[in-house]
Symmetry: C2
Subunit: 409 residues, 2 copies
């Protein structure tokens, strides 16, 4: 079923992406371009390649699932960019590229001799993207950053966690992938403009800055209150519209909860919720009639809902309550990975990789005329060195062999 | 300084977006298109408009900061789409549009008579985007969803919070804005393809499905362990590379912490950290020499780092430790909003809105040749009804007045 449903939209067929990214912030961006049909050629050092290949706890020489998730549908070539001939190859590739993308430590790509000034001279039409931890002009612009540093410095951790607990890191790697998505949008918009002007552009985004984009609601709250936005556990930050929380379900495991919410915009939600949980008798009870009353009696509301949810499993709660008002089971990653519905809809797709048979991973979740793009396995290190050098630079076998013999590729 | 730095890239000049979105998942998508230069015309009902205008606790008739954050740079027109003439106006606008976007409850736009089948007949080149809570073919496809429901059902809450605590909701509204970004990418890629084919496309994304995209690392962990990914507080999910946590700083407020991390990829980080915190004496100590040893003695590592951090404020800790290894202060939203550096770099921009003077908000964080797009205030309800109907449909004053008199707009 997956195979028939996942058909390439090929929206970006013909777009050449020269990919010097590693780990996640940059790779997540070029990953999307590859899914959408671009020819993404990932340049890796011959001695190990992207450190993301071995970031996890798997044994050496087996590409980690982490790498598979951010590099599917790409081609890999190895080039020793610290050799003069290797550097020249990357410049030759840049001459052919529509998009260049990197996320090395601050200053590293410029020290390699592949800065925007150099590549835009070689190819004035190049769209040159860079992801860093902190922005130019920030007091920390020369600092290293990883996902968690961006989440800490951007306010995101300060608004995540229990009200009386410590700041928590959202499980999503928003500092990396969240930033990568904003860069991807900017690259695509630049490609549209370039069709008109022929001119490239220098794109830069900082992970810290990108996080502000995703927590705009917390800034709204601060504007109104003059105070830092709080942590609110599972609730909404404003927390003034109960019920809006998770409620414990049977059998009481760490993720046996159901989220129950009644929209402020829909006054019918509260009586519909009461009906769903068999408490029609409370419809019209002045303790709960208005939002203000519900705020005042929120402890009693929590007790009433818990009485219903704690006797049922989370899926039954979601089915019964979710038919009336917004409600959702808190699902864990194993439940999701094993849920056949995601594979049937090709939201999760199975790929065959030499190191991981039947490896299930999330593809691009947007449907194009009903179908998602198909996921192809991430490349082995240097798997496409010969093929890509022939395609992009017109090299012949002898030239490729010579480069291999001289350990340039 | 802001004014000079924020210059329009105008990448999408000439792209017409017909915006029937509300709240955030759809509006965040069209917000980006507007920032990047598209002409986004937001169609709202004349009796109040987008419920996001009054979602917060501000008094009626004053647009909430929430609305301002997701609708800047757009134009607003009011149309009563439940009248035949109003519906026809929306169809006429759709005929001129490059992009149509909506995020109503499941089935609502089709019941209005503005489904993909109808609009693609009128305009075969239209790129028609829809955001829903659950995907077509999901058992919950007819259910309502809001941001928190998507976060609950997608695994995101299960991996956020303290290890022994309940699931927590990330403070970022990833269910809404995170989904909006994936739709935005798909729209732009479709615009690129359409230059070639002239054909439009039907784009659909579900908030639940979109969340899987942002938590791929947790699925990697589940693939390797066969277990649900855990909650890890402020740590990384794998949690096997200490130090990787937040450490308390003076004076001990709720967000007085500094994140400290040493990259697995860089064995020099550990000795550099020891040097930064004045503990060169511990360099070479076998209790901490390898990653395995540090896992075993992580409690002692935490004690050593805390001894340093607890006597200094978080900014000093970030300055000193961050110069050596990845480190970052946990900042709150008030500190960020008041930090002049973000305004100097136009990451936060000040706008003048009739209801909110000097309103500071986050703009698009990506730089184009060094500059970000400028933010313009969100429109008042129906502010551009006449102007946009003249621009898009060539109406004259008399026609607009007649529509107003008949309460169609």
């Amino acid at each position: 079923m997956t195979d028939t449903k996942a058909v390439a939209p090929g929206l970006l067929t013909g777009v050449k992406v020269l990919d010097l990214t590693q780990f996640e912030a940059g790779t997540s961006c070029t990953q999307v371009l590859a899914w959408l049909g671009a020819d993404v050629v990932k340049v890796e050092n011959p001695s190990g390649g992207d450190p993301g290949r071995r970031t996890g706890s798997t044994k050496p020489h087996k590409d980690d699932p982490y790498f598979l998730n951010y590099n599917s549908n790409k081609r890999s070539i190895t080039v020793n960019v610290k050799s003069a001939r290797g550097l020249q190859i990357v410049k030759d590739l840049a001459k052919k590229a529509d998009v260049f993308m990197e996320n090395f430590a601050p200053g590293a790509i410029e020290r390699l001799g592949l800065g925007y000034d150099v590549l835009s001279e070689i190819n004035p039409g190049i769209i040159y993207g860079q992801v860093k931890g902190f922005g130019e002009g920030s007091p920390y612009e020369h600092n290293l950053a990883f996902d968690m540093i961006a989440q800490a410095c951007s306010g995101l951790m300060s608004i995540t966690g229990e009200p009386k607990g410590r700041p928590a890191k959202p499980g999503a790697t928003l500092g990396d992938s969240g930033t990568g998505m904003l860069m991807c949008i900017s690259i695509l918009a630049a490609l549209i403009k370039r069709k008109e002007t022929g001119k490239g552009v220098h794109l830069q985004v900082a992970m810290q800055d990108a996080m502000l984009h995703y927590i705009r609601n917390s800034f709204c709250l601060t504007t109104k209150t003059g105070k830092p936005a709080p942590r609110a556990g599972a609730k909404n930050l404003e927390g003034n519209n109960p019920p809006c929380d998770i409620y414990p379900c049977a059998p009481g495991g760490p993720n046996d909860f159901v989220y129950v919410y009644t929209s402020r915009g829909n006054p019918q939600h509260w009586p519909k919720l009461l009906e769903a949980i068999g408490r029609k008798d409370l419809i019209g009870d002045p303790r709960f009639e208005t939002r203000e009353a519900r705020v005042e009696n929120s402890a009693e509301i929590d007790r009433i809902i818990t009485e219903f949810t704690s006797k049922r499993d989370k899926y039954e709660c979601m089915r019964v309550i979710g038919a009336a008002v917004p409600a959702g089971a808190v699902r864990d990653t194993l439940e999701l990975l094993n849920d056949p519905n995601f594979e049937e809809r090709a939201i999760l797709q199975k790929i065959q990789h030499p190191a991981w048979k039947d490896f299930k991973m999330a593809g691009w979740p947007v449907r194009f005329n009903g179908s998602p793009p198909p996921v192809k396995p991430a490349p082995l290190l240097g798997e496409h060195s010969a093929e890509a050098l022939k395609d992009w630079l017109g090299m012949n076998d002898a030239q490729v062999t010579a480069l291999r013999d001289d350990k340039i590729i």
